[in-house]
Symmetry: C2
Subunit: 112 residues, 2 copies
Amino acid sequence: MSQRLTLQKTDVTAVSLLFNALSNEYRVGIVNLLRTGPKNVGEISDALKIEQTMASHNLKCLAFCGLVTSQRLGKTIEYTLNRETVEPILRLADKHISKYAANLRNCKTLER
Amino acid sequence: MSQRLTLQKTDVTAVSLLFNALSNEYRVGIVNLLRTGPKNVGEISDALKIEQTMASHNLKCLAFCGLVTSQRLGKTIEYTLNRETVEPILRLADKHISKYAANLRNCKTLER
DNA sequence: AGTTTATATGACAATTCCGTCATATTAAAC
DNA sequence: GTTTAATATGACGGAATTGTCATATAAACT
């Protein structure tokens, strides 16, 4: 009896929302910082020299997308990178940029 | 004699611009469509039921980021997916979404 | 050369996003 | 239980992005 497979199709909306989370310098900065290990909000905003509120807003977005997780430690909340997906994605991005999109480095906004 | 390696650091700006290209439904739709093979602009706008102008604008962005390449074939211009980077990235995204971000499917905009 | 077909470009209004401020929540310390 | 420290939330104006329209370019056909 032949088995009916649910063909896993790419969910275009979900994918665009996921990458939207990585389409902002603050969020990529946070994600990149968290590669060095878990940090709380204060440590993140200090390290990246951004306001606490800005860090919080962007962490919320990253958490909603499952790219980071959070855990309260007393008064502080520690954010941890979802390495399983973020590491390979960043490696692919780095490789792509150096091979195919070196010009991206010198452009602030994408003209269309 | 010890060799001086240029440590490849993630370029936060470039990475955010690259993922910005994949942060839009039209562009992810185009990229996903091109997995089935190269297509010209008319075929793309027909298949996705979007206006030609919309297709052109978004193809320009994808091309600038090196995610697609183009080639004129007579009157028509054919766009080809950069499979080398897009395939693994989409596979990672699909896997991440089903494992960590199922809720993304049911949300139009990222609240923050 | 003029017409048609395919695609790209530029501009503008409408929408969405971002940065910041004011305020709320939560836990620890006193 | 009041205060302090850490973080989150909501709101609002300014900035960036998007969708569409008008127009430009480029090749093929007559």
